[in-house]
């Protein structure tokens, strides 16, 4: 019973970290259909910004977090406007090659600027403590991640379904030329969406850093996990990503409690099974 509760709690916490890191890619790859393998690099930029602001400049975490996220969004918007927009119409292979090259470039740049060491984000006392759940303790930081994950999921779903921007985005992706003739400013929509994707990546980089520590190879190290979540969740389905992240997180955690000698086997078997049964995403038929 105790073990089951532990699996549930740690599974949700780990799944939410996966979701928060993956949700940005769900926007760029899923909604915009742009194969963005430099997603991890954007998360790294956000995380590094927060680490440097809190540790070197002694900013408050609650101030550093939005600044880091907005900074990542700005860098994302700039890159989109200058370079990446020329790739939308190119083949997927070209997108893959370009963005993976960009990731390698950013890894080398980070290594040269900040060195190979792990970067830690200084947490405020409120988050650094542990919360007593009665039968065990949980780091307070995980509660923030869980709350942030739920907020992002709800916010994204509402934006896509209910707002004019969501309609524009779906129109721009499905039929850019028609959308443009109808007077939808597709360039602005694309640029803003990519910036939002980058911002969410940055948010994931900051909030996920407790489990996935920031270092130059961050950009590639966790890319597989993130791609798995988006693929299992289904292209463009943010709720699907949430369900995928939570179920995969719980499976991975359960295997750590019950059968750790098998490594990550169950995680990837579950991925294969879900993809076989629901190739278009968990929540789509």
């Amino acid at each position: 019973m105790q073990t089951l509760l532990n699996i549930g709690i740690d599974g949700i916490a780990y799944g939410m970290v996966l979701f928060v890191i993956a949700v940005g890619l769900s926007v760029t790859l899923g909604l915009m259909r742009f194969v963005n393998l430099s997603h991890g690099a954007f998360a790294m930029i956000g995380g590094y910004a927060a680490a440097l602001l809190t540790r070197e400049a002694h900013w408050n975490f609650w101030l550093a977090l939005p600044v880091a996220v907005l900074g990542t969004a700005l860098i994302g918007a700039l890159l989109e406007a200058l370079v990446l927009r020329h790739l939308y119409k190119r083949s997927e292979l070209e997108q893959v090659l370009f963005t993976i090259g960009l990731a390698f470039f950013l890894i080398a740049l980070t290594n040269a600027l900040a060195g190979p060491q792990v970067q830690l984000i200084t947490l405020p006392p409120l988050l650094a403590q542990s919360v007593d759940l009665g039968f065990r303790t949980l780091p307070a930081q995980r509660l923030l991640v869980i709350a942030a994950g739920l907020l992002v999921a709800a916010g994204a779903a509402w934006t896509m379904a209910r707002t004019r921007f969501g309609i524009w985005l779906r129109a721009a992706v499905d039929h850019a030329d028609t959308a443009s003739t109808l007077g939808i400013p597709i360039r602005t929509v694309q640029c803003a969406s990519f910036a939002v994707g980058a911002a969410l990546a940055g948010l994931g980089g900051v909030l996920g850093a407790e489990l996935m520590p920031l270092e130059p190879y961050y950009a590639l190290k966790y890319l597989v996990l993130v791609l798995v979540v988006v693929a299992v969740g289904g292209m463009g389905s943010i709720m699907g990503s949430l369900v995928a992240a939570l179920s995969l997180g719980t499976i991975e955690t359960a295997s750590k409690y019950l059968a750790s000698e098998w490594g990550s086997l169950f995680f990837f078997v579950a991925m294969a099974a879900m993809l076989a049964l629901r190739p278009h995403g968990l929540l789509k038929r």
Partner: protein, 392 residues
């Protein structure tokens, strides 16, 4: 005018060439190939080797036994036996190195054993810590440590300080399993019980499930081994956040509180117990001299097991150059190396004549805060330890 200038420059370069020829025959240079990761995720080891080795030569006035030293650095990236073999072959055949040093990863060291055996090139291991390496060629000498060497005294101490039940939690790869076996065999020999042996997959990022299992195992202490960097930080974080220290489960480790990562832990690290052969806080004139020489080379240089391994490795090479008078004579150099005994920054050490592995003191340390920085404070000296892994 133009032609005139060209003639002059040709004459000048001919002269220069002649001068450089005569210089190289008079004061011959000793070539030392340093093999390690200088790029990629493990590049910090390359930097540590470079700083340690160059600081040693600088501390001796830039020359060893009156000979100029030329370092040739070669990059292996990560664990990559095939590439390492090619690199070392090139160093031996093309660059004609007199000595080799470095090596972070065990498979890379294994791969070059036949090459150094055939060419009789003395090779000093600065880091790779699997016992069996020095068995593979009689030209290997090791100035680092092995997991058996530091784990056996740790297990003996745990048994003596009334710990009856211990759980082991190691990363599931070669050195981790080595560490688990070493601890288990010695601790049970001393009458203790290992209640559970947890092996954590190498890709683990979320350590809380394992830490919960440690808590539930009913042990009084956890013996752990993790590779440096992110896994190390993640485990210690989970250990603290899940209140293991508070519920009285002691942390027993080896290289986990290494100086390279130590400051990153923050106050959470205070009180962590480890058994290891080198602490930057070791109080001795030799260590002071070592740290000063490092800082002179690079103010950001870190004094830890890898840079001290390189420093002592260069000491061994120094003595081998002395013994052979700078001539290439691998067998004679090895005879000298086997008899070495000196005061290292880590304390008194010697090279074991049979195993060619370094015999050194192992210390029990606790992390303390001194002047705003975390240090590994040595609280007990277990005395000189051999490599128990080779002795079996």
């Amino acid at each position: 005018m133009h032609r005139f200038a060209r003639q002059w420059s040709a004459a000048a370069s001919a002269l220069l060439l002649a001068a450089s020829f005569s210089a190289s025959t008079e004061a011959q240079t000793i070539k030392v190939g340093i093999v390690g990761p200088f790029s990629g995720p493990f590049a910090q080891y390359g930097t540590l080797f470079k700083n340690g080795a160059e600081a040693y030569v600088a501390s001796q006035g830039g020359k060893l036994a009156g000979k100029e030293i030329e370092f040739i650095y070669r990059d292996t990236g990560g664990p990559n036996p095939g590439q390492t073999k090619t690199i070392v072959q090139e160093l031996i055949v093309k660059d004609k190195v007199d000595y080799l040093g470095g090596f972070v990863f065990t498979p890379n060291a294994f791969a070059v054993a036949p090459l150094i055996q055939q060419s009789q090139t003395p090779t000093v291991i600065f880091n790779a810590a699997t016992s069996a390496i020095t068995d593979k060629s009689e030209f290997f000498i090791r100035t680092s440590y092995t997991l058996w060497q530091v784990t056996v005294p740790m297990a003996q101490w745990a048994a003596k300080s009334n710990l009856k039940k211990v759980v082991t939690a190691v990363t599931d790869y070669g050195p981790g399993i080595d560490a688990e076996t070493a601890f288990k065999s010695e601790f049970t020999k001393q009458g203790g019980t290992v209640v559970e042996s947890i092996r954590m997959p190498i890709s683990t990022t979320d350590f809380s499930p394992f830490v919960q299992r440690i808590k539930a195992s009913g042990a009084q202490a956890v013996y752990t081994f993790l590779p440096g960097g992110p896994p190390n930080l993640g485990f210690v974080k989970a250990y603290n956040e899940n209140g293991l220290a508070k519920s009285g489960i002691q942390f027993l480790g080896t290289a986990e509180t290494d100086e390279f990562d130590l400051q990153k832990f923050g106050d959470a690290a205070i009180g962590l117990t480890t058994a290891f052969h080198y602490s930057a806080a070791h109080e001795s004139p030799a260590n002071k001299k070592f740290i000063e020489a490092l800082k002179k080379r690079d103010p950001n240089a870190v004094a830890n097991y890898a840079s001290v391994g390189a420093w002592d490795g260069m000491f061994v090479i120094h003595k081998m150059i002395e013994a052979t008078g700078g001539q290439r004579d691998g067998l004679k150099a090895l005879v000298a190396a086997r008899a070495l005994q000196w005061e290292s920054p880590r304390g008194p050490v010697r090279i074991d004549a049979k195993t060619r592995h370094i015999v050194q003191n192992v210390y029990l340390r606790k992390v303390e805060k001194v002047g705003g920085a975390l240090v590994n404070k040595e609280v007990q000296n277990f005395g000189p330890q051999i490599d128990y892994g080779l002795d079996k």
